[in-house]
């Protein structure tokens, strides 16, 4: 798996985070695991935290502290808010448009 360029990640990670959280209530470590498993490669968890803070401050997600099932210290579980769902929809539309454009360019190049 290739390590994705930082600039490419910067433009997509926020949308990716919203996509993971849209799948169900989750916490930071789990989000990180989901991103790695999805093929984002070695994404440092340190890049995820500032984005989670930004999304929370922007009212797109909400974090709720909940006791850990194993009885350990409480964790913060994030879920999507309506503004986050809208932001995700906008990102998905932009992504689809860009993916279509790239596909056409590649087609033209192969021709």
């Amino acid at each position: 798996m290739r390590r994705l360029p930082t600039q490419l990640l910067k433009g997509t990670l926020e949308g990716a985070l919203l996509g993971v959280i849209a799948g169900g209530e989750t916490y930071a470590y789990e989000i990180h695991q989901a991103l790695v498993a999805a093929g984002f490669g070695e994404v440092a968890d340190g890049t995820i935290y500032p984005l989670l803070l930004k999304l929370e401050h922007g009212g797109q997600i909400e974090g709720v502290r909940r006791a850990s099932p194993s009885g350990g210290p409480p964790r913060k579980y994030y879920h999507l808010l309506p503004a986050g769902a809208q932001a995700l929809a906008d990102f998905t539309a932009d992504w689809d448009q860009m993916a279509d454009a790239m596909a056409k360019l590649r087609e033209a190049h192969h021709e």
Partner: protein, 310 residues
């Protein structure tokens, strides 16, 4: 990818044995199956089979976390409660990563200063109103502490003008020292609390420099004011300590010392006590005020005491 895998196995071996490699250059040469065996061994012997059961980070990971935590919490103006909450989450993640055989730097990022800057930028900060209130409180505390020092030295010539000016400069000096201390978080050998740096810098640099400032606005403070201020500040300290309700002998002793620093000169202004009473006044005050704090802790109903922060 293979470099990451080696690091993965190295940290797994460390997590299994609870030890650090002898040097940074040493790498575990185990295969993936040996790493799995090590992880399984930890799981087998650990009834919870859960990262929460491993309550501590390995030294290298702990150092990483401590430096990041110090860098974030020392950031000027950052909301302390929000910072603590975020850092607690990061600590949990590092524990879980360690349990999965991933070191802190590999998991969280190899440039903790840049990450710390990003985290600080996205944490809530003190509002303008909060800064104004803090500024006023800081000025008032610095003015009263400096004023008390001046009253003890020479109540007939208290430089109120100089004190008002220095009370503006002292909080700014503390902010500058904190910022300087923070810049060296990732380069100094050991993580040190900024409190010690500030205390040393104030005692060794700021206070001697402030003595060199010309005195102006001289007023004579009457004895009754010194008595009222001294006993009043001591009572305020003791009352605040009781309200905090920390139920700690160490904390009570510290408050006892500070309150004695105010109460003793006030008592002295009333006149020197004869004989043994005069000699025993300081230790008697110290013990008495400490016991007063503990007694107040115990007697004051809990609902009237400060609540713990989450």
């Amino acid at each position: 990818m293979s470099e990451t895998k080696h690091k993965h196995e190295e940290t797994t071996a460390e997590a299994a044995t609870g030890t650090e490699p002898e040097s940074e250059g040493v790498r575990a040469t185990g295969t993936a199956s040996e790493a799995d065996t090590a992880r399984a061994a930890v799981t087998e012997h650990d009834p919870a089979a859960d990262p929460d059961a491993h309550a501590t980070l390995l030294p290298r990971n702990q150092d990483y976390y401590d430096r990041l935590a110090a860098y974030v919490t020392d950031a000027i103006g950052v909301d302390g409660v929000a910072a603590d909450s975020t850092l607690a989450e990061i600590h949990r993640d590092l524990l879980q990563a360690q349990h999965d055989g991933i070191g802190a730097a590999d998991y969280f990022g190899r440039d903790p200063q840049a990450i710390g800057d990003d985290i600080v930028a996205n944490l809530p900060h003190r509002s303008r109103r909060g800064w104004v209130i803090l500024g006023v409180v800081a000025w008032a505390v610095a003015f009263f502490l400096g004023g008390w020092r001046a009253i003890i030295e020479d109540p007939a010539r208290v430089p109120v003008g100089t004190l008002a000016l220095l009370a503006l400069l002292l909080p700014l000096a503390i902010l500058a020292i904190t910022a300087w201390h923070r810049r060296r978080t990732f380069t100094r050998k050991k993580v040190r609390t900024s409190f010690l740096t500030i205390l040393l810098a104030v005692q060794l640099v700021v206070l001697p420099l402030s003595d060199a400032v010309p005195h102006f606005g001289l007023v004579a403070v009457p004895a009754w004011f010194a008595v009222a201020a001294g006993f009043g500040l001591a009572a305020l300290l003791v009352g605040f300590a009781i309200w905090l309700g920390l139920h700690s002998w160490v904390f009570a002793a510290i408050v006892g010392v500070l309150a004695t620093l105010f109460a003793y000169p006030a008592a002295d202004a009333l006149g020197t006590l004869p004989g043994w009473w005069g000699r025993l006044m300081i230790p008697l005050m110290l013990v008495g005020l400490t016991l007063l704090v503990r007694a107040g802790d115990w007697l004051l109903p809990t609902r009237w005491q400060a609540k713990d922060r989450e």
